[in-house]
Symmetry: C2
């Protein structure tokens, strides 16, 4: 193994996270403290930026600074000298925090396969896609306080769902996964202005993986007419590692064709998507491999859309793609799709089956992408274990 692969965490990657003493990066299974590194090696950013308890101040410096920091880290870390040993600790000994302070969290619905699958399941007999779907990237705002960093365990939520046609309050019986890709803003915009799709690279700092946990039964009962609320708001997991866009230059691919042609404000003159290959694992078994490049609305269009009414974005804002589902049945990014709404449970290697998540289940979302050195990088995983719902007497206390 060379310094450039290291299981996808070599010098071509250098993701960022936040540990107990500030910003860290990663080389293989070693976590490197930038604050400690800076004690012995000059870094081209102000010391307070790498000692901060979120990535926000560093991301706000912009891509020029990020690229300079990256180049310097590649230089310093390549020689593996004493300054590195001083700053390195094993991955499993460093607790990582939620890496960003988020003002706005938006979740899109950008995969046409996913939206079609959900439409068929939830509105059988009708057109699977609503008439607006091909005209704009549908999205909604999610809850910010319940965004947690992997591997925070996830408590099964309770809420109102229909039991034999009667609304009852109790633990969700249809707890699901949504494998998504998230984009973190590194540059704010002004309220009253719009950001173009082609300005994506100026405004977005990097990528995280997202599990948008979904209680399908709660969501089904509450969802009309104002959309998802408690069926989603109990938890959203993100990877603690942010992969800077600088590490994804080789992952750019042409987007899928769009028909009808997008309206002018959603046109990107040089459109692209990212060739991120996702992997969805349940209890150690890979159950799906969703290809992000198949999503219909590009990350640039998602950014342009959310600001097209003049809404501003802030540094640290997070927007996610919505469930990534490729066209093949083994590329779907949620259990409701993989099991056809529970009609065809998944057979697991331990002999059990799953329609939706059971208590104790462990879900991991991973992804990899081509890197500029001709190899591949591995994005930081997002992991979560399902804890049982609290006893009813505790709800409410």
């Amino acid at each position: 193994m060379t310094a450039s692969d290291l299981d996808g965490f070599g010098l071509a990657h250098l993701p960022l996270a936040v540990g107990p003493d500030g910003v860290v990066t990663r080389l293989g299974s070693q976590v490197i403290s930038l604050a400690r590194l800076a004690e012995r090696a000059r870094l081209p950013v102000a010391p307070e930026l790498v000692r901060a308890d979120t990535l926000n101040p560093l991301l706000a410096e912009g891509h020029e600074s990020m690229a300079a920091l990256r180049a310097r880290l590649q230089e310093v870390l390549a020689d593996s000298g004493p300054s590195l040993a001083h700053a390195a600790r094993p991955l499993d000994e460093v607790p990582l925090r939620l890496p960003i302070a988020i003002t706005n969290y938006v979740d899109f619905y950008a995969s046409k396969t996913h939206a079609t699958n959900l439409g068929r399941i939830l509105r059988p007999g009708g057109e699977p896609l609503t008439p607006n779907w091909c005209w704009l990237p549908i999205g909604y705002h999610g809850r910010v306080s319940t965004i947690v960093a992997s591997p925070t365990p996830i408590r099964r939520p309770s809420g109102i769902r229909l039991v034999e046609g009667t609304p009852e309050f109790g633990p969700s019986l249809r707890l699901d996964i949504e494998a998504e890709v998230g984009f973190v803003l590194g540059r704010r915009s002004e309220l009253g202005t719009s950001v173009q799709a082609s300005q994506f690279f100026e405004h977005v700092a990097g990528v995280v993986l997202v599990n948008d946990w979904s209680a399908r039964d709660l969501q089904a009962f509450e969802g009309q007419p104002l959309g998802p609320f408690l069926g989603k708001s109990f938890a959203t997991s993100i990877s603690p590692w942010l992969t800077p866009l600088e590490a994804l230059t080789a992952a750019r691919v042409p987007p899928v064709p769009q028909d009808p042609a997008p309206l002018a404000h959603l046109v990107d003159e040089d459109p692209w998507n990212l060739a991120l290959e996702l992997e969805l694992e349940l209890n150690g078994q890979v159950i799906s491999r969703p290809p992000f490049a198949t999503t219909y609305w590009t990350p640039g269009q998602q950014l342009a859309h959310q600001t097209s009414n003049g809404a501003d974005v802030r540094v640290g804002d997070l927007y996610a793609s919505g469930t990534v589902s490729g066209p093949a049945p083994d590329q779907f990014g949620s259990l409701i799709e993989l099991t056809d709404n529970g009609a065809r449970p998944l057979a697991l290697q331990d002999g059990t089956t799953r329609s939706f998540l059971a208590d104790g289940d462990v879900v991991v979302i991973r992804a990899s992408a081509p890197s500029e050195d001709g190899g591949r990088i591995t994005l930081g995983e997002v992991r979560g274990r399902i804890l049982p719902a609290l006893p009813q007497r505790h709800l409410p206390r």
Copy 2:
């Protein structure tokens, strides 16, 4: 006029806002700086709390501290001595900021009259209320970065709406008002736990007025299946003044009866609502007087519902009631209801008519409530003037 009325801003009120040098209160048309007051009069809170640039640290102290501060302010301000003159400035000379740092913003749909009116207009021929409406307070998350303090002017948003059946991008042609009441959290809860309706007073610090500006045409096109997004996210105005719950003890009234009986987690053993009388003014003319006490789901139930899945609340969080519409046609809280979706335009005193808002229109939402001294207090107004949409060539830039 006595010190106890002062147009609803007497000693029985003492709302809180944030000015250039920190927390302020108000006596009539005088703004009193608590930081300056503290230079000559001892206040029972730490000096840094009244010098902060948001109310959050002060609200987080809890109701015991808030009540002690209020009692001391009533004492100090009653004698109108030199310490007061030192700290006072005329209202129109003090720029007020957005008073709270908000993590989560939730907007409910708690008025049965409003939901019924909207259902009749948007889904003619069907049942006006969706089957879930009487079982839970429907709500959704709104955008946090676009919450602005009155009197910030409001730029008319652009977006995709149908023009003769064809999706086109352009300025909203159906820009509307929603007169709402907002609740600001003063105490956080833990992720994974729930707050009971009866714990409202422990968790909520006070009340603001809210105008949830709504672009009906954008909302109509985008709203299925995931709810409102750009039709709402361009701006939400709140009053800069927060009325502490301590000033609203005389405003508590029994809530309207609920049928079916709420499920256990939404039951409040000692239920109540607030007798806030709203007033909606367009270009100087009162066009509606919505009575908040007619809302079906109480503020306590709205709080219990949003945490019933284990989602946490944070200090500074804002949740709003949704449009307040009383049963009489002159009590509706939005233009879409007041004009029956534009079919019966409002005649204004200047000879013009309005179906929806025109550029230059000025909207003011006011409210008053009974106070403990037998008089009434006036809540801080929320005001906004409509600016024309940016020229199309600027969208996107």
